[in-house]
């Protein structure tokens, strides 16, 4: 357990010292602040526009970081041979994989907190009031990004970084189209319907983590929704980690 934490901390330090991360986070902060401009031309709907623009920018950049770093994480270790440093020590591959996951999740969490802080300050300065729905939406966005970390690492355990980034990206798009897929499935002929429903249940339903539309109406999730989403998150992340570890355990370096 302690070893996982040591690896996680090492991953965290190693990743947050990357200049590219600063560039992406800095740019995202710029875009979040720029939502003020969009708000100013919205015919009195500035709060609405700042909320949707800010949260959307946050989500997009968080997922960019996640895909970019998540799919490179294991590859970088093997490519730069730094994996020899860790795996030859009293460390099992499971611990290594979990440590990497926790470390990157910490990086994502820290970036999200920074972005969220800027967003909340901006909203507060503009309106003097931040609805709790905003915090829920940010929290669920972080959960979504953590799930995508597990996705990226799973693909990264057997595919090249570029293909695993593409797979993760595709999975995110499918995960956010689940509502549409379900709606189409209900209208389709039986065979196509079973196929689409299979897709609907097999892929992670990222729309569960999307509370960003409700923020505009200051609707906080109800407790059942929060609990089911949390259970879903834990179960699906565990599934993805298990799959990734199963592949990673057989990898040779």
């Amino acid at each position: 357990m302690k070893t996982i934490w040591v690896i996680a901390r090492n991953t965290f330090i190693e990743t947050i010292r990357e200049k590219i991360l600063y560039a992406i986070v800095g740019f995202s902060l710029l875009v979040i602040v720029a939502s003020l401009l969009a708000g100013s031309v919205s015919l009195g709907q500035d709060v609405r526009v700042i909320q949707t623009f800010g949260l959307t920018a946050m989500t997009v950049f968080l997922l960019v970081i996640t895909i970019f770093v998540g799919s490179h994480l294991l590859y970088k270790e093997t490519e730069q041979k730094t994996i020899y440093l860790t795996l030859t020590k009293p460390v099992t591959r499971v611990w290594f994989y979990l440590g990497k996951f926790v470390g990157l999740s910490l990086v994502i969490g820290a970036s999200a907190l920074l972005m969220g802080l800027v967003y909340v300050i901006l909203l507060w300065a503009k309106t003097g009031f931040v609805a709790p729905a905003n915090y829920w939406a940010i929290g669920f966005t972080i959960l979504e990004a953590w799930l995508v970390v597990a996705v990226g690492m799973m693909f990264g355990s057997f595919a090249s970084p570029i293909s695993s980034a593409l797979y993760s990206f595709g999975l995110i798009l499918i995960g956010h189209s689940t509502t549409t897929i379900h709606a189409i499935a209900q209208k389709s002929a039986p065979t196509i319907r079973y196929l689409l429903e299979g897709v609907y249940y097999a892929f992670p339903n990222l729309e569960k983590f999307n509370l960003r539309n409700e923020v505009v109406y200051a609707i906080s999730p109800n407790p059942t929704q929060v609990i089911t989403t949390l259970i879903y998150f834990v179960a699906f992340t565990a599934l993805l980690l298990a799959l990734g570890i199963a592949v990673f355990r057989k990898n040779e370096f």
């Binding site: 040591v6 440093l85 030859t88 460390v91």
Partner: protein, 257 residues
Amino acid sequence: MLRQYLICQSIILYAKALSNMLKLQKLTKQFWLGSKPFTAVNSLSLEVATGQVFGFIGLNGAGKTTTIKMITGLLFPDSGQSSWKKQDSTSVESKKKFGFMPEHPQFHRHLSATEVLSYVGELFEIDPTIITKRTKVLLKQVGLADSAKIPVRNFSKGMRQRLGFAVALINNPELLILDEPLDGLDPIGRAEFKKLILEQKAANKTIFLSSHILSDIDEICDQIAVIDKGKLLFIGSPKKLTGGKKSLEAAFVELVR
């Protein structure tokens, strides 16, 4: 009486030495080059007794690194096993006693030498105060005391090699596994490194080192194994290989041919 006692003692010591050893049993590893199988290590068996400096000699591509990777668990053998004190050498318990230095040691780019050592130390679950103490001593020992705070990405090849050696020693290991420790170093660096290894030998460590530079081996090793195309050709003391007449190099070339 005394004589009997001494014999008894030496038998106990010998038994101890035998039990504390690294033992490879019929290790075999195949790679696939396209559709053709290529046997990197072919049914390799050997034993390293405690306190020995064991030289593992072969040409480039003879299977030295593959063998070492199988010992440390980076590669999985197709068949056979490697054990340490009758335990699987890739288990966490065994690896706690190992110090390993890979062929061209690489470290996380953004860490400094001190951070690398404390990271590895924490992986061994060593007490932080001991880590700080050992880090200072080791960095001084390998001559990196002045570069302790510089990010490792700015290190030269020789400096990385030195840091690799320090990393291998952080847990005060019982068995040191060094893969080509002298490769790519300048003559002065080589001399210094040999000194470091001999210091460890004096500290009664078991050392398993691979090399293709025979002159160095001659000076350091008690026991050598020669491997070519994945097969063990010779095991014994360097003197046994040379037969007291030829140079080690000539004997080696003869053996491999």
